[in-house]
């Protein structure tokens, strides 16, 4: 039995125009994991996913899916893998139902066996009512759902999603999150790339950050977030202020007269900040975390790699 769902060793990719996309990356994803692969545009995420899915030829290195080397057991590896690509990749002129049934057929699943599965997954993704619509008439969000339905129809053990919620509204994004959490809970290993770092923070247990073709971090989400020294808090004020108060040890700035933003160091207690604000007669109506914590770390790491 393979130890990892995905194992990548010294993976390199140099394109025909001499662009070096991957400089020998190593990556291991545990079975059952929900793994985030993050990186700025052009970092090498899509090249990595392309190689795993046989859409891109590697220049060197090894890739195994559940122990099946893509050089020697490609078809076995492929049958265990589902990929949701970044770009829409189905025929826009076919009906939703036909697209998913055809995809099942490409995996050797006859229509009679595929139909109940297709019905189930289309219903689960709220696409069943649109099964006879031409794909081109679907909205962007439904097209994304169709991509996921296609990738899951052969019940892969490893699902790779390349920015699945790009351009999708918040409601649908949350619906997709709940769906992905459910299939992960049922045993499917998931690798997710996304530009919405909140999404990675919400869903993933482990994380890899790739930049300029190298892995700059590969750890658990908890450990990564634990390295963050400063947390930002946003306070909604009861009364407007003209300028930000000055409190020693707590840098504050006023975003607007009713919104105060504080940077709180990890070794300081937020209670101390509340006490100081109370002394200044500043009443807080509500409080929330400032922009995503992961985002700060991500930018920090990518900047460090730049230098």
């Amino acid at each position: 039995m393979a130890e990892y769902a995905l194992e990548i060793n010294n993976l390199q990719k140099v394109y025909d125009n001499n662009v070096v996309a991957l400089k020998g990356i190593n990556l291991k994803v545990q079975k059952g994991d929900f793994y985030a692969l993050l990186g700025p545009n052009g970092a090498g995420k899509s090249s990595t996913i392309g190689i795993i899915g046989s859409l891109v030829t590697k220049s060197a290195g090894k890739v195994s899916v559940f122990g099946n080397d893509i050089d020697t057991d490609l078809n076995k590896a492929k049958s265990m893998l589902g990929v949701v690509s970044q770009e829409i990749n189905f025929s826009q002129f076919e009906k939703v139902l036909d697209i998913v049934v055809t995809q099942a057929g490409f995996y050797g699943i006859p229509k009679s066996i595929a139909m109940p599965k297709v019905e189930n997954i289309l219903k689960r993704l709220s696409l069943w009512d649109k099964r006879n619509d031409q794909a081109r008439t679907l909205s962007g969000g439904y097209k994304r759902r169709l991509m996921i339905a296609k990738a899951l129809i052969h019940e892969p053990q490893l699902l790779i999603l390349d920015e699945p919620t790009a351009g999708v509204d918040i409601e649908l994004r949350r619906e997709m999150w709940s769906f992905l959490k459910e299939i992960n809970k049922n045993g499917t290993t998931i690798i997710l790339t996304t530009h919405y770092l909140e999404e990675a923070e919400q869903l993933c247990r482990n994380i890899g950050i790739i930049d300029k073709g190298t892995i700059v971090a590969n750890t658990s989400m908890k450990d990564l977030l634990g390295t963050l020294n400063v947390q930002g808090f946003v306070f909604d004020l009861d009364q407007p202020l003209e300028e930000a108060p000055v409190i020693e040890g707590f840098p504050l700035k006023l975003e607007d007269p009713l919104t105060l933003v504080a940077a709180v160091n990890k070794d300081r207690s937020i209670n101390a900040l509340f006490s100081e604000l109370t002394k200044l007669n500043i009443k807080i109506k509500s409080m929330r975390n400032e922009a995503n914590r992961l985002e700060e770390l991500f930018i920090e790491m990518v900047n460090a790699n730049e230098n």
Binding site: Y15, G50, G53, S54, L55, V56, T57, L74, N75, K76, K78, S79, M80, L81, V83, S85, E87, I88, N89, F90, S91, Q92, F93, D98, T102, Q103, G105, F106, Y107, G108, I109, P110, K150, H154, E155, P156, Q157
Partner: protein, 259 residues
């Protein structure tokens, strides 16, 4: 998880998808050859044909029928595969195939079978149209006719596949059919026997591969030919084998489909 991969199902799925594609746009794929060929039969067969007289001992319209069927079969087999395979590249739905465990030979065969289905169906339609203008037509050698019909369709489907593999734009898929294929077919004995040409042009015509395809089919339908049938059949089969191996090599290498 599905591990027992059924290659027959995947081949059938791709073939059905290809057939469904050209049937869905039947106004663009099935009707034009019928209309165009009707015009050929009216103008060259019924109006001008009687003034030309006979060709190799047959009424001119009768002589034209095998040539016009081949013209339609060749162009439609070629165009079906070149446009379909380039479209899946253009729309990126080629990824559906490349990600799946389908072996390369099933991908090639699926597209070729799609081209053959369209080519043969068009051949039947054009033959049906020709019967409206020449109802007494009888096929001299049905076995040879059907064999050449299928072999020709396979051959030109494979050519269309190679064209699509290398195509980077929609212009690239029309250049070869327009500037190479069509002139060679027209000069390959669709409308005339090379015996009416001066010696020089007859020799030049012998270098045109279309001449062998058209004349082998004419041998099947009428029982006359300007070329050796066994040589022609041998060359068609040889080219099919060479092109099949070339297509499989291109697929394995990922030319035009993998980065």
């Amino acid at each position: 998880m599905k591990t027992n991969f059924n290659v027959t199902v995947s081949l059938w799925t791709l073939t059905v998808k290809e057939v469904r594609r050209f049937l869905r746009i039947w106004v663009q794929t099935l009707v034009p050859p019928a209309v165009t060929m009707s015009l050929y039969f009216v103008i060259f067969g019924s109006l001008i044909g009687p003034r030309i007289g006979s060709m190799d001992g047959f009424d001119y319209i009768q002589y034209m029928i095998p040539g016009l069927i081949m013209l339609s079969v060749i162009t439609n087999s070629y165009n079906n595969v070149v446009s379909s395979f380039y479209s899946v590249k253009f729309q990126k739905s080629i990824e559906e195939l490349l990600i799946s465990p389908m072996p390369n030979w099933t991908i090639l065969l699926g597209f070729v079978l799609g081209g053959v289905c369209r080519g043969v169906l068009i051949g039947i339609i054009v033959f049906g149209v020709s019967l409206l203008f020449y109802p007494d037509f009888t096929v001299a050698n049905p076995l040879l006719t059907v064999t050449v019909l299928f072999l020709t369709s396979i051959l030109f489907s494979l050519m269309g596949f190679i064209n699509a593999v290398f195509a980077d734009s929609f212009d690239d898929i029309s250049i070869i059919p327009t500037f190479i294929l069509t002139p060679l077919i027209y000069l390959g004995g669709v409308f005339y026997s090379i015996n009416i040409l001066p010696d020089v042009w007859r020799s030049v015509s012998m270098a045109n591969p279309m001449l062998y395809v058209v004349n082998t089919f004419r041998e099947g339908m009428l029982g006359v030919s300007d070329v050796s049938i066994s040589f022609s059949l041998g060359m068609i089969i040889t080219f099919i084998l060479v092109l099949s191996v070339s297509c499989l090599y291109l697929l394995k290498k990922g030319t035009g489909i993998r980065q």
